[in-house]
Symmetry: C2
Subunit: 156 residues, 2 copies
């Protein structure tokens, strides 16, 4: 993958500041020509720099204000089936396979405490799952951010 240059990074920052800016607005914000911005946007898109729009949908707004992390201990041989089962639970918003012990960290969205309990049980019932420890997220101490990292790449 090509390394993003300064122009790309500045474009990303400006886009974060004004997600709905027109190409023209972006161009004059960065003191570039419209053609350049347009070409960059196309290239960034083709390179997969932009993750799916899904990521911008608020779980809060969907009536699922609770976030929980479920640490799942599994029989590694059945990881494929377990992954498929997790896909079948819409409240499982994301899941990662971790190093070390054979376990999975799943991120779950729930309506309330009992809803969370229900989902937890459902995960436990998956074949090959040994144990599941749920931790409820109280506060988002650091809200998802990428801009600081982008800025650090700019040599800020």
């Amino acid at each position: 993958m090509r390394t993003l240059d300064t122009t790309d990074l500045r474009l990303l920052i400006e886009l974060s500041r004004a997600p709905d800016a027109t190409t023209v607005a972006l161009a004059q914000a960065l003191s570039l020509s419209r053609n350049t911005v347009q070409a960059r946007l196309v290239r960034l898109t083709e390179e997969g720099v932009f993750l799916p729009f899904e990521r911008r949908i608020s779980l809060d707004a969907l009536g699922h204000p609770l976030t929980a992390f479920v640490q799942i201990h599994v029989h590694q041989q059945q990881l494929t089936e377990i992954t498929a089962a997790l896909h079948g639970i819409p409240e499982v918003v994301q899941a990662h396979g971790l190093t070390g012990s054979a376990d999975v960290l799943a991120r779950v969205a729930a309506r309330n405490a009992e809803d969370l309990f229900r989902i937890h049980s459902r995960i436990l019932q998956i074949d090959g799952v040994d144990r599941a420890d749920t931790s409820l997220a109280m506060t988002e101490l650091v809200a998802w951010r990428t801009v600081p990292l982008v800025e650090s790449l700019l040599g800020g």
Copy 2:
């Protein structure tokens, strides 16, 4: 917060399918008038249904292909200062305060193994941090998704 109705949810799904669709395109995709779609989009925006654009920036593309979860044990009295310190580390992409033991789950993006080690050390050096256990994410078994949850709300 108002509960999203069927039209809102369908709009979110269509937006996920075609993030750059024009209002006109969305309107005919949902068999609605342009005015309706426009009004809905404004309302959804005002209600904060759309999270910041930042969330769509790929950490991979930024040259940080490694994702790690750092479980941080802290002195709860100093949580405010610790949070500020975490904000000072650009590689800390997100952090949650968890229930139970007094700890924080931070999500970290790193260039490579040594970079991760460096960040880990930097977290450890924060005043008030007792311990920090890093788990490297090998695979994203379930990539971030919200659409299944939206669909389940539609009664699918």
